[in-house]
Symmetry: D2
Amino acid sequence: MSDAPSPTTPADAVGYEHEHHHDGPHGYASDKEAYLKRMRRIEGQVRGIARMIDEDVYCIDVLTQVSAVTKALQSVSLALVEDHLGHCVVDAARQSPEDGAAKVREAAEAIGRLVRS
Amino acid sequence: MSDAPSPTTPADAVGYEHEHHHDGPHGYASDKEAYLKRMRRIEGQVRGIARMIDEDVYCIDVLTQVSAVTKALQSVSLALVEDHLGHCVVDAARQSPEDGAAKVREAAEAIGRLVRS
Amino acid sequence: MSDAPSPTTPADAVGYEHEHHHDGPHGYASDKEAYLKRMRRIEGQVRGIARMIDEDVYCIDVLTQVSAVTKALQSVSLALVEDHLGHCVVDAARQSPEDGAAKVREAAEAIGRLVRS
Amino acid sequence: MSDAPSPTTPADAVGYEHEHHHDGPHGYASDKEAYLKRMRRIEGQVRGIARMIDEDVYCIDVLTQVSAVTKALQSVSLALVEDHLGHCVVDAARQSPEDGAAKVREAAEAIGRLVRS
């Protein structure tokens, strides 16, 4: 990602309520290709599940695939969490304790959603 | 789904190791359209996450979407479990205790994978 | 467990809203000692976590123990699910399709709570 | 907790392999009483589950309680994660990028265990 935020970034669009730093790439920027590759694979797995359902594959085999996709998504989210902690949260902490505390609160909420999903 | 199993069902293909009854529709057959609609929505959400990553959306917002997709997949899997229990497992139980026990064992393993994923 | 339900069974007490068969032992009855042994072990682990907190053990080590206890509880719940499916649900299915359907609905709700917790 | 680490802290005992700062209270120190109160409640719930199993309470009611205890443990672990991020990880980040990176790596692993348990 360029160092300056694009004015058309969806992050500015309605629906994204979190304020965030545009002052540099986000934590996952250096691994973007790897993330995209994983998401394309997950997209293929999701289409595969739909195909299995359409072809009346045995319920248990469909469930096995759903578990596999869930694990893959979990893996992506844990990598995002680590990248976010190591960049956005650490950078904020080094700015000031208040910036760090705000980022920690936000990260903890996101981690809570992951644990409960 | 047709009432008779197609001989080209992927269930017969390499990789699907579970024996299963072809003697009637599987549990989810009557809701197939509903399942396919949900999987198409999930597929769209997965493509949306890839787009967010590609556009360098803030990590937390990406994580929020990943949690949403995971919840949606979980919901599909729980519906599949209920359909499977109510049809395949119940039908096997009514055939004989041994058939029921085998289907219960298999269902319990699948449920275990869901709980751990 | 005796084959006849005890009149003082907490199952009859306020708070337990599910109707259930008293006409024989519940699914887990034959493994009761094994379940009790596992619950005693889990109780010890929970007390151990409290001790760690009281003694200011490093956060990460406490979290590791919490994950271990959660896995142990998950394991107990999956065993209970399998016993329940193999006895209560199968028995109901063999009684009638309606009995089976009711037990399946109830089991699916419980499995949903497990997957989401 | 006292401000100085006890030399008999189990953290120094065999089994705790993580190095950690003793240079001040850990993240959860100021909430220790609250944590201990929650753990005592969880301990009581675990004993309650054992009692239910011993008294042959209906499987579904036992499962409901297991889900409740798992949720309570999850809640404790998320509070520990937030305290750890807000103190140990932020403090390390303010020391140096390397200290921060090490603490982030460790925290991400612990969060991964939580998500998968």
